[in-house]
């Protein structure tokens, strides 16, 4: 694995008053912002191709994949359920206020259900997992990188893309839709609880009114689009972690940049995916 050209995240922050040594990156001059941006995308592309190759060629790391499914899926479930539930309450409160003003309070269950399954469930799941899993993967791999553990894996003739990156990315890809289902479920449930506390409404009535007119096209595309969110989170977190340099500061930067970039790209991808879904599943 060649690691000589890792601009941006790889540069150690000099201490105040530090001398610029001959041959150091400061003396050599950093590439411009546009060049750094292009190099980052180029490196990301190379990284992704290596992961794809490693993921689809034997030996397969099934045990590590199972560990990551548990780490990324099961252990994110409480947080995602909590965030989904809280969002359901907020939607219920806001929608009640707005719909009552326009004399459409009877549409409240449908407003909650459609808001949750179309957008808030998937995006909240994407952002919560970006925070929890993105930071975790970024920091863990960065820590392994700066302590030469990733080099040690490679020196032991084990492909680190196959052992470390591929299982994490596949686990993110597979777990995001399942976590989204949990966020959707808790969002709708807490939306109903919030409404039922104000005006009596049975769960059956809420479900009947909420899902009236709903089809699989309302449910499946928004849920499966989160696979792309998982791919983005996994790839960016692994990439930022495995290219880190610079000791403890580098680990911190990798964790932060993993969360920030993964969240940003999840939101940007959502814009594109929502438009695509509206075109393909009118």
């Amino acid at each position: 694995m060649e690691r000589d050209s890792t601009p941006g995240a790889g540069v150690a922050v000099p201490l105040p008053g530090a001398t610029v040594l001959p041959g150091s990156s400061e003396e050599q001059g950093e590439p411009g912002l546009i060049m750094q941006f292009l190099e980052w995308f180029g490196d990301l592309g190379v990284f992704f191709m290596r992961v794809v190759h490693a993921a689809f060629t034997p030996p397969f790391e099934f045990r590590e994949l199972l560990n990551q499914l548990d780490e990324i899926g099961s252990k994110s479930l409480p947080l995602v359920a909590l965030a989904g539930g809280a969002t359901g309450i907020v939607i219920s409160l806001q929608a009640r206020y707005s719909l009552t003003r326009f004399g459409a309070a009877s549409l409240l269950p449908a407003a909650i259900v459609f808001s949750v399954i179309h957008e808030t469930g998937p995006i909240i799941t994407g952002l919560v997992v970006s925070g929890r899993v993105g930071a975790g993967i970024g920091a863990q791999l960065a820590s392994m990188k700066v302590t030469e553990q990733i080099d040690a894996i490679e020196a032991s003739a084990v492909n680190p893309y196959r052992l470390l990156a591929a299982p994490r990315i596949i686990a993110c890809f597979l777990m995001l839709p399942l976590l989204t289902l949990a966020a959707d479920l808790f969002g709708m449930l807490m939306g109903w609880v919030s409404q039922a506390l104000v005006s009596p409404l049975s769960l059956q009535q809420f479900v009947t009114r909420g899902f009236k007119g709903a089809t699989f096209n309302d449910f499946l595309p928004p849920t499966f689009k989160t696979m792309f969110f998982g791919l983005i989170i996994g790839v960016i977190a692994c990439f930022q972690g495995m290219r880190t340099k610079g000791g403890a500061a580098g680990v911190g930067r990798a964790a932060t940049s993993s969360v920030v970039l993964a969240s940003l790209f999840v939101i940007l991808a959502d814009v594109v995916l929502v438009k695509l879904i509206l075109i393909l599943f009118p």
Partner: protein, 261 residues
Amino acid sequence: METINQVAPKKPKRPDDGTPAVSVENVHKSFGKQKVLNGISLSVKRGETLAVLGRSGTGKSVLLRLIIGLQQPDSGAVRIHGEDIVGLSLDDMGRIRKGMGFLFQHAALYDSLTVEQNVAFPLEHHRPEMSSAERAERVRNLLAEVGMEGSLQKMPANISGGMQKRVGLARALALDPQILLLDEPTAGLDPISSGEIDELVLKLQAEHQMASIVVTHDIHSAKTIADRLALLDKGNVVIEGTFAELQSSENEFVKNFLKYS
């Protein structure tokens, strides 16, 4: 004490046809504008130990990383048993690395695994034919060989630097390598631990007849464990030979290096 080879994986030894086990030919390596290796050439035969000495920042560790393929040279060839490894894919490089052991300067043990699991790691990935009992026995023997048989279940964070290096050495030997690369094996250790590591390397070298390259600042350690020494300065070899040949050199840099070591 049992020896490692009692449960070593069965692997045909490469016949000694006179090809150097490791050969570095006119290798250049720069980082940005900083030239680290400047046309260096070295070779090591099977059963021979070469110590690479030099001041900090002269490219000793980079040389080892080029030999194991963790970095690529800007130009020149790195041959392992005659095969040029420059530009090989990760999977092809993996095939070469199975015959090599690498001890990192800070041991680089996997901090989430126990001592036993660290040593078992290469075996789990490359010796699928071994049963768990055979693997466990081999790990115990490797750790016994480096004097760490009492620390199987300890985590790397809970053992000293010298112990970590012993475990790193056991891990490097797990696949019964033909080439052993040691990066500063005695750096940061007290004199007794350094001496113990030197004796251990000598013993393992006698048992396994590996081609070894030891990067070190420690001239005493180099004198003890190496057949030949190579002194680096400004990215190239200033002198190469036995310790006696270094001592008799009239080169000012060599004299200064020996004087202050």
